[in-house]
């Protein structure tokens, strides 16, 4: 237990006793309208800065804003993005640990093993795949390919419990390692996968298994985004820096991985496009051809009836034959939606409202790209990456599930 430095303790004490610089009302004090606009970012930059400068010295305005913030209604429970934010450091740590295990176990179990890469690429082609396929290909593990966006709230697939863990060669283990920095992947699954990779290195894989797995891994890697590639590089760099991975192995593992391709652009007119019918209902087909969403259109009748569609979305699990109205829990009239997969759907609306579901059932509210943005369209490639546009033609992009947005041209 560290004892605070006496000077730090004294400073803390002094700060608690510090008299604010200005406590009297001044003509420069912001009125409630300005304060509210400042809080919501509704002022232009110079006025924002000017207001903030005043706020930093005026105890009355500070108190008003404090009261204003404290009066804010409780936000709905937000699913934690801990895999991507809080425990992000676990990814390189786990990779380093896995690399250490690989380094320690590898030489003792297969001391005379040649590098497997030439065999998997050339000898395999010469002898033919079918001859070496007596063992059925194990079922692929659940990963980002089969479930492009592992939601934060979705229990991570338990890798050790998955059926028939595939056996990996050096290359494949390297691929698994390089494919690890998927931000939405939970640390549990990352650890489990690292452990599985380490264990798998102790066994030899049947060639057919290797082939199938190589294809799976290749498909996996190819489907990853550029961000995943950057993270992969960072991971490899991290592993190299730690010195846990022999310098000769890491590049070999990387060479065996097909170059990642950019994420496939959502096909217009197919899955994920919200089309507005004449009735004003926005249909959002999903990629699986079965699940459908649609945004209820304006309803006739009184205000209460009209409002009843706010925050609501219709869901169909039979290709649109029957619909069930479900609340999103977010009281916004949504204007557009996009469903990049059967379980992922993004919705946008006025006031910068963005909602997203990772499992097709529960919705969470993403942060607003801009407080004054009336959003009219959205395109997404998974539960983390989406681009929204507003009525002013501005575009905002998120790569972290809506936690942060950046303006894009």
């Amino acid at each position: 237990v560290s004892t605070p430095d006496p000077r730090d303790r004294a400073l803390e004490h002094l700060l608690r006793r510090q008299t604010p610089a200005a406590s009297a009302d001044t003509p420069a004090c912001a009125n409630p309208e300005v304060l509210a606009a400042w809080l919501e970012g509704g002022l232009d930059a110079p006025v924002m800065a000017e207001t903030e400068l005043h706020l930093s010295t005026c105890v009355r305005c500070q108190a008003m804003l404090a009261a204003l913030v404290r009066s804010e209604p409780e936000a709905p429970a937000v699913e934690p993005w801990w895999p991507g934010v809080h425990l992000r450091w676990l990814v390189p740590l786990t990779a380093a640990a896995a690399a250490t295990v690989l380094w320690m176990v590898g030489p003792t179990t297969r001391p005379a093993q040649p590098i497997a890469e030439p065999e998997t690429k050339q000898a395999r082609a010469e002898r033919g795949d079918a001859a070496d396929a007596p063992v059925p290909v194990p079922a692929p593990r659940r990963d980002a390919t089969t479930e492009p966006s592992t939601p934060a709230a979705t229990p991570p697939p338990a890798a050790p419990a998955s059926p028939a863990p595939p056996e990996l060669t050096d290359n494949e283990a390297g691929k698994a390692l390089s494919a690890k920095p998927e931000r939405a992947e939970t640390s549990a699954s990352a650890q489990a996968r690292s452990g599985a990779a380490a264990q798998d290195r102790t066994r030899e894989a049947a060639p057919a298994d290797r082939d199938a797995l190589a294809k799976q891994e290749a498909a996996k890697v190819a489907s990853r985004s550029n961000e995943g590639r950057r993270q992969t590089e960072a991971l490899e760099e991290s592993a190299t820096v730690t010195g846990a991975t022999p310098a000769a192995e890491a590049p070999r593992a990387v060479r065996a991985v097909p170059p990642p391709a950019p994420p496939p652009a959502p096909a217009a007119g197919s899955a994920g496009v919200a089309g507005f019918a004449a009735s004003g209902v926005a249909a959002i087909p999903s990629a699986d051809g079965v699940t459908r969403w649609r945004l209820p259109g304006p309803e006739p009748g009184d205000i209460a009836a009209r409002r009843s569609s706010e925050g609501m979305i219709d869901r169909s699990d039979d290709g649109g034959a029957t619909w069930q109205r479900v609340p999103t829990g977010i009281p916004v009239r949504f204007t557009a939606g996009f469903a990049p997969s059967a379980t992922v759907c993004w919705l946008v609306g006025a006031g910068g409202a963005v909602a997203v579901t990772n499992d097709g059932r529960t919705w969470r509210r993403a942060s607003r790209p801009a407080p004054d943005a009336d959003l009219t369209s959205v395109e997404a490639s998974d539960a983390r990456t989406a681009t929204v546009r507003d009525t002013q033609g501005r575009a905002f992009r998120t790569t972290d599930g809506g936690a942060t947005w950046t303006a894009t041209p």
């Binding site: 006496p6 000077r7 730090d8 303790r9 004294a10 400073l11 803390e12 004490h13 002094l14 700060l15 608690r16 006793r17 510090q18 008299t19 604010p20 610089a21 009302d25 009125n31 409630p32 309208e33 300005v34 304060l35 509210a36 606009a37 809080l39 919501e40 970012g41 509704g42 002022l43 232009d44 110079p46 006025v47 800065a49 903030e52 400068l53 706020l55 930093s56 010295t57 105890v59 009355r60 500070q62 108190a63 008003m64 804003l65 404090a66 009261a67 204003l68 913030v69 404290r70 009066s71 804010e72 209604p73 205000i303 006025a350 006031g351 942060s367 407080p371 004054d372 009525t391 002013q392």
Partner: protein, 293 residues
């Protein structure tokens, strides 16, 4: 007042859904023009107007106009939120009164011919209506507190514990190095960027939590904590630099820090102003004090 093109007004009127309240275009145009007066000179007026919370502006204009449908909607959708916000701001039991007084101001006075317009006319759509309402509530509450403070009677001689006696500092008898530290601290705070100073003020003077500060500044609370730590380190460095330039040795600096901590020369707001609840409990009959706002 800024003139807005008729076509633009009509488009914004439609986009705001003002027809729901049967709000005439002319009335909405007046609200838009009032808001346009807040538009920075260098900004594009149309872009500014497009960025407003038009639906809320239309509702406020319709309520100011006294349109029944709008009022019905406001009462149903916003009044409960108003009471909840008042309850969150003022936990002393005066929340209902606080909210009701604001509600009356929102309604305005028309029937008796008094020229007291509805408070809605001061809403310009640069924030949501809900946030503006909470902001007005916060202002009323803070000003009421401050006004009440002015009207608080001085404690009786034999009254103990109601108001902590301000510590009277004999500046002549202060140790000089304590003064040095305080002056250096004040200078260091004055030199901070506004946002750092704001975080510091909210955290120490207003006793906001990291989460609350984070909500206000759109930062994660871990980020707020990191910024505060960095600011404290900077303040300490600034003080140490000032003390070093005054020719103090490290040992003497330590002594100065300790002296400043032990020195009661600075006003302690916590001691001077007990918690709001405690003060309210002492002065429940303060309703007689007129709200100067």
């Amino acid at each position: 007042m800024a003139r807005i093109e008729t076509a633009l007004t009509a488009r914004l009127h439609a986009r705001a859904g003002a027809e729901r309240w049967a709000l005439p275009v002319e009335v909405f145009a007046t609200a838009l023009e009032r808001s346009a007066s807040k538009c920075p000179a260098a900004a594009d007026l149309a872009q500014y107007l497009e960025g407003l919370h038009l639906g809320d502006l239309a509702l406020a204009a319709a309520c100011e106009e006294g349109l029944d449908a709008a009022w019905e909607h406001f009462v149903r959708e916003y009044r409960p939120a108003l009471y909840r916000a008042a309850q969150a701001i003022d936990r002393s039991g005066d929340a209902r009164e606080l909210a009701d007084s604001l509600y009356a101001e929102l309604f305005g006075v028309r029937d008796r011919g008094e020229a007291r317009p509805s408070l809605f006319r001061y809403f310009h759509g640069r924030s949501t209506l809900a946030t503006w309402l909470r902001s007005v509530l916060a202002q009323r509450h803070i000003d009421r507190m401050r006004a009440g403070r002015r009207f608080d009677p001085l404690p009786e001689e034999d009254e103990s514990g109601t108001l902590a006696a301000p510590v009277v500092t004999d500046h002549a008898g202060e140790r000089p190095c304590a003064q040095l530290v305080r002056a250096a601290l004040a200078a260091a705070i004055a030199g901070l960027p506004p946002r750092d100073r704001l975080r510091l003020g909210w955290y120490y003077a207003q006793q906001m939590t990291l989460a609350e500060i984070g909500r206000a500044l759109k930062e994660h609370e871990a980020t707020v904590s990191r910024h505060l730590s960095r600011t404290r380190r900077g303040l300490r460095t600034g003080i140490e630099r000032a003390l070093a330039s005054a020719g103090l040795s490290p040992a003497a600096m330590d002594e100065c820090f300790t002296a400043a901590m032990d020195d009661p020369g600075m006003m302690d707001l916590d001691e001077m102003l007990p918690s709001v609840d405690a003060r309210k409990a002492r002065a429940l009959d303060r309703s007689t004090v007129e709200d100067p706002s």
